[in-house]
């Protein structure tokens, strides 16, 4: 195969674009997709301070790399989840990347700061590990962005992630989640702006970007994610994609264009019910925000101390 742009030998083919690229042109392709997403959804400007949520995986490191190359003021935020050797190796990839790029890295360690790790917290709260992990990440990303005075939190959600979540939300016709499944969630009282600049790139593309750029990342899957239903959704969507390239993009971007406006009101109604969590002040629709409730269960009633740390 030849590169679509320069006719040199290609290193990667992208069936949904009916294209193949050499290494240099592929990096440009990825950057162009990110630039296009940022512009199309008015995600941020170069004067914004951006906090990139980094896990040590391909998506978040590729995002951080691209945002810095594109001239954004992007610092990294790593959350230590306390998942044994997996967390130990993940932080190594993140620190190495930050050191190589001379980038600023903020670290928050959940076991050290809140007194529990994700596996035991999930068990105590009778949640799936991915559920406890996800709610902790959302809470702590938001808190770190607000505490640090950042204009936006950028996450490495890619096209496959968004298509899989959309698939799950459609299977359940969960209109509240559908109303919130946008590439930009604006900053409102208590919430930092959240942006997903990788929504035009598949995870095969973000992985290829890292290989080409020499970015070392955590290839091994999180040991807590076995049985995660989104992995099943991704496999189902990839079976469709390989038979009909472009299906995932058509599914997701068709939703954004034609369906998201129809369900926006549902999310708006939910926002009206938000009030500050009595323990930490974060917006919630429940008596206690999900993170404080998790901390309470995980630390067996030592909530006041944990809440002090949360709100501090």
């Amino acid at each position: 195969m030849k590169c679509k742009a320069c006719r040199q030998p290609a290193v990667i083919d992208i069936p949904r674009h009916n294209a193949a690229f050499c290494a240099d042109c592929f990096v440009r392709h990825c950057q162009e997709q990110v630039v296009r997403s940022i512009a199309a959804f008015d995600m941020m400007s170069r004067s914004d301070r951006v906090l990139v949520a980094v896990s040590g995986g391909k998506d978040s490191l590729a995002l951080w790399d691209m945002l810095m190359d594109l001239g954004y003021q992007a610092d990294g935020l790593y959350l230590g989840l306390g998942i044994g050797d997996y967390s130990g190796s993940s932080i190594g990839y993140v620190r190495s990347f930050a050191a190589d790029r001379g980038a600023t890295l903020v670290e928050v360690d959940i076991p050290a700061e809140f007194g529990f790790d994700i596996p035991t917290g999930a068990a105590a709260a009778r949640r799936a590990p991915c559920s406890a992990c996800g709610l902790s990440k959302r809470h702590l990303f938001n808190k770190a962005a607000r505490d640090g005075g950042y204009d936006a939190v950028a996450t490495g959600h890619n096209l496959d992630d968004e298509a899989a979540v959309l698939f799950g939300n459609v299977l359940r016709w969960d209109t509240a989640y559908l109303g919130r499944q946008l590439p930009v969630l604006p900053g409102t009282d208590g919430f930092a702006r959240k942006v997903k600049p990788l929504v035009r790139l598949s995870e095969r593309e973000t992985a290829a970007y890292c290989v080409i750029k020499g970015i070392d990342y955590q290839v091994e899957e999180c040991p807590q994610s076995a049985g995660n239903r989104h992995l099943g959704y991704k496999a189902a969507l990839n079976d469709i994609e390989v038979r009909s390239p472009g299906s995932k993009a058509a599914f997701y971007f068709g939703f954004l264009e034609r369906i998201a406006p129809l369900v926006a009101g549902v999310a708006e109604e939910e926002r009206r019910d938000l009030h500050p969590c009595p323990e930490c002040g974060s917006p919630t629709v429940a008596d206690l925000c999900a993170f404080c409730a998790l901390v309470a269960k995980a630390t067996r009633g030592k909530l006041s101390g944990a809440a002090d740390r949360t709100s501090g």
Binding site: V11, D160, A208, V211, V219, E220, L231, N238, D239
Partner: protein
């Protein structure tokens, strides 16, 4: 050729030469879900892998909380 698979990491000895797409088909792997890497370099689906190659088939699917 030696084929290195991940998650869990394991190695297979397979006959060669053969094309990347044929290798993935024999391993029953979806091309959307993997990258194929030879000597640190990505290769496209139509590339021919020599019999003495060491080939990494790297999964790209991430799951769990994002």
């Amino acid at each position: 050729m030696k084929v290195v698979l991940r998650n869990p990491r394991r190695e297979l000895d397979m006959s060669g030469p053969r094309r990347v797409n044929a290798l993935l088909a024999e391993l029953d792997l979806n091309r959307e879900a993997v990258l194929v890497i030879v000597d640190g370099t990505l290769v496209t689906g139509d590339a021919t892998l020599p019999a003495d190659a060491t080939v990494e088939v790297r999964p790209v699917i991430s799951g769990g909380a994002r």
